[in-house]
Amino acid sequence: MYSKEVLEHFKQPHNYGKIKNPDGVGKVGNVVCGDVMWLYIKVKDGVITDIKFETFGCVAALASSSIITDLAKGKTLEKAAAIGRKEIVDSLGGLPPIKVHCSVLASDALSEAVYDYLKKKGKEIPADLERKHKRIGKEKEIIEEKYHDWVKVEEKMHEDKA
């Protein structure tokens, strides 16, 4: 069912955890299955120097999260934001058709992290990234409603730490 690459990334995911004082954060959720992914980036001179993820999800979601950190690290923001589901699926040696939406989740999380960075820095946001952000925003509302209690606890902790 799952490829060797998927299972390797799933068993030993790369770059998971938080980044302290990230330059950009992307938080997305999948309304279909209920998976949630948070992605953190560090940026220097327009290049992603560090990237980490936290994911609540299945094998495919965890593997997609892991691979996208590998794909994005060292790339310019522009190139990173353009990483789509096809690149993720191909890099994983394929995903079962029903699990392709998990790769979309990873791609969305990265776009959102880049969007967050550009917005914070007051930089110009490309039109396609803006469009994607609007689409993701709608889905995020639904998912945050679903995990309301858990998200609240988590955000309060961030505030406490800050």
Partner: protein
């Protein structure tokens, strides 16, 4: 790698004693019981012996046992032909039935029948008074499973049977998970129709039964050469049915001792999981529960990921999370019990059995504890930080 099979509710290995009993009927005693010669007579004798064993196990008469190919076939027969042969236009089911009952009831709805789905409480229990209230003048059939396949909750089928008998409505129970594990008496429990399956009780696949109480109007699903007294045509799978009979005999002989052993393992496992893993919860009823079922859920992690991490360590379990389902929907059983989508997301079932050793259960709990911790480290949501 050391491997532990803790998924007996999905299927069981064939007991070596069962296999031994079957082998002659695949070799020299291969005859067709419908044949008149000695080969056929030998096979027919073995078939009838299996029928006797099975009938005795549920306190039925031999003429009331129809051998079928699967529990799915037995349940389809109840909804697609028996319901139609009897008077009425309304059936009642529980919301936690197996898909083969739910989808057969859906089919019946397409034939112009009305289907009432009963409520269940948070443990998955049906209340007999709800059954009584749902019965109408045109109700033909009530179908409530004996024990649930996911949570192991045991339904009060004796009381439900009494309600149905009083109202003169057929009562069917799917006992695929319970037969051989807990006692069944079709007379005392007022059961009219009962489904059970060989491969859930250390027999081979391809053999199952439908008990049809004497006096219940029957119509076959499979028409043909008139096997099984015209109730189920198909060349009889003698070896599988001999195995089924042997498996039933063994389960009945060992039910008390094995039930006690499994209950102890089950309760140890549940208490250890709940104690050692924070934010873990039991699904289903703590006592009215199959002796071999452990169904738990964990906050902040997803079931398929837990299952596959366990699998990587050689431990076989089962999950009903949305991610593991072909429709990406969480278990209809857990949702019917009032669990929210995200709660069902982190659900996991272990089901132990005859060949499960204490060490396996101990290792499973230790590995589970580690796996949940690791996955929570990766999850954006974490326990009580």
């Amino acid at each position: 790698m050391e491997r532990s099979y803790l998924d007996y509710a999905a299927t069981t290995p064939v007991d070596p004693r069962v296999l031994e009993a079957m082998l002659p009927y695949l070799r020299e005693q291969f005859g067709n019981p419908a044949s008149m010669h000695s080969f056929g007579r030998d096979a027919a004798q073995a078939l009838e012996q299996a029928r006797e064993t099975v009938a005795k196990a549920i306190n039925a008469d031999v003429n009331e046992i129809v051998f079928t190919g699967s529990a799915t076939e037995s349940n389809n027969t109840v909804f697609k032909t028996i319901a139609l042969a009897n008077k009425g236009k309304h059936v009642i089911i529980s919301p936690i039935e197996h898909d083969c009952v739910l989808n057969s009831a859906r089919w019946l709805k397409g034939q112009g029948y009305e289907v009432t789905t009963l409520p269940v409480d948070r443990f998955g229990l049906v209340k007999p008074q709800d059954v009584a209230a749902a019965i109408r003048h045109d109700t033909v059939l009530v179908s409530v499973m004996h024990a649930n396949n996911e949570m192991g909750t045991i339904e009060p089928i004796g009381e439900i049977g009494a309600v149905c008998r009083k109202a003169g409505v057929l009562f069917h129970t799917d006992a695929a998970q319970s037969f051989g594990k807990v006692p069944i008496d079709v007379r005392k429990m007022n059961i009219d129709l009962l489904t059970a399956s060989s491969h859930k009780m250390y027999g081979p696949r391809g053999a199952a039964l439908l008990f049809v109480r004497k006096g219940v109007k029957f119509a076959p699903l499979l028409h043909g050469g008139g096997h099984e007294g015209g109730k189920r045509s198909s060349t009889v799978n003698v070896a599988a049915i001999v195995g089924f009979g042997k498996a039933v005999g063994l389960c009945m002989d060992e039910m008390e001792a094995e039930g006690k052993r499994e209950r102890q393992l089950r309760d140890w496992m549940i208490s250890q999981i709940l104690e050692r893993i924070p934010k873990s919860y039991l699904n289903g009823h703590p006592e009215k529960r199959l002796p071999n079922n452990v169904n738990v859920r964990f906050d902040f992690v997803e079931g398929e990921a837990v299952l596959m991490r366990l699998d990587a360590e050689g431990i076989a379990a089962s999950t009903a999370s949305a991610c593991s389902s072909p429709k990406l929907e969480p278990s209809h059983v857990l949702l019917a019990c009032g669990l929210r989508h995200e709660e069902a997301h982190g659900s996991l079932r272990f089901s132990i059995g005859r060949f499960t050793k204490e060490e396996e259960v101990k290792r499973a709990v230790a590995v589970l504890e580690k796996v949940i911790k690791e996955l929570r480290d990766i999850s954006p949501f974490k326990e009580g930080r």
